[in-house]
């Protein structure tokens, strides 16, 4: 008697059988489900994931944050706004008030170079309180006079300008306005309820603040932590400290 070879059945009946089998298995599974078998299982986070979860904390700002930075790397942190006008700059009175009402002040050198103002140093208007002519800039006046002489026929307005140069009056050609200042400061705004993910400012083994305003907040957070530890007061400081502790376990 010859043994019959096993031939794979490629007919449609096989797929039907397979589908029937699958449906039967599903029905059985549902019966077990009705009896209490969970319909899903969750892989619990491993110990390593739990450790790394320290990196996943986020900072949500409870109030808006404004950061004023000067050319020496000082920073003032508060909530007030500072008026800014194109061509004029920041309102000086607002800057004074901002500094006065700042919640935190960081001394010179605390702000990394990236976030320093573009226009440095501060160009302040000279205060001429002594009624002498020491604010007369002979070089500037001479240059302006040369410009006028190069024109063919000075108009009456030019003549007035010339007179004002001679008298040493501030004709605003130097853009100097005691009420506004267009150099020496950078102002950064972070909105209320905005979320900062400190892990985005790390390189895996250490801090690497991004080149944006959130990065400045992180940089200042690190300065705050270095001086005050996890003392409450700075938004999200516990999150920063937890990541610092994590790095401590890695090094």
């Amino acid at each position: 008697m010859t043994e019959k070879p096993i031939v794979p059945d490629t007919s449609d009946s096989e797929s039907e059988t397979s589908e029937d089998s699958r449906i039967a298995e599903r029905r059985q599974l549902l019966m077990l489900g009705a009896a209490g078998l969970p319909m899903m299982l969750t892989l619990k986070a491993s110990a390593q994931q739990a450790l790394v979860s320290q990196l996943t904390c986020s900072i949500t700002l409870p109030k808006r944050v404004r950061i004023l930075v000067d050319c020496d790397g000082r920073a003032w942190v508060g909530t007030r706004n500072i008026q800014y006008k194109n061509g004029k700059g920041f309102k000086v009175a607002d800057i004074v008030k901002f500094k006065d009402k700042a919640t935190y002040a960081f001394p010179a050198g605390d702000v990394p170079n990236y976030w320093l103002p573009d226009n440095c140093p501060i160009e302040e208007c000279s205060n001429d309180d002594d009624d002498d002519d020491d604010d007369f800039d002979y070089e500037t006046a001479s240059a302006e006079l040369d410009d006028l002489m190069r024109t063919s026929l000075p108009s009456q307005a030019d003549g007035i300008a010339l007179a004002s140069i001679r008298m040493g009056d501030d004709d605003d050609d130097d853009d100097c306005d005691e009420d506004w200042i267009d150099s020496g400061y950078a102002f950064y705004k972070l909105s209320k309820n905005s979320t900062i993910l400190p892990v985005d400012h790390t390189s895996g083994t250490g801090w690497s603040p991004q080149a944006n305003k959130q990065g400045l907040f992180i940089a200042l957070s690190l300065v705050y932590e270095s001086r005050h530890g996890d003392a409450p007061g700075w938004p999200g400081i516990s999150c920063i400290v937890s990541i610092i502790n994590y790095f401590g376990t890695q090094n």
Binding site: L30, A34, M39, M40, L43
Partner: protein, 102 residues
Amino acid sequence: MAAAPPTTSEKWSSDSHQYLAVEYDDTFLVYFRPSGETHFLNFLSYGMVHAVSSGPLSEEEILARMRTDFSLTAEELPETLVATTLSELDQAGLITALDAGT
């Protein structure tokens, strides 16, 4: 005191961008990005997540959809099993309850 709104008006939803799913022999391995957890879902639980990913559905609608999609009778797929599974999926964060009218 006002009565709590009936739970039957509650609709369920899921954002398919929040998870990755791979099928292995009628079992689905689902990685949920927000929690970083991975879940094993059988055909029913994944079918429910998948169904509400394309638009919010009520419990009744999910029940009807599952019975139709998987050719199951009311006896084979009881209402209580769908309710329990919805609860498990909700707890895992894979689906979200929406208020009626949203």
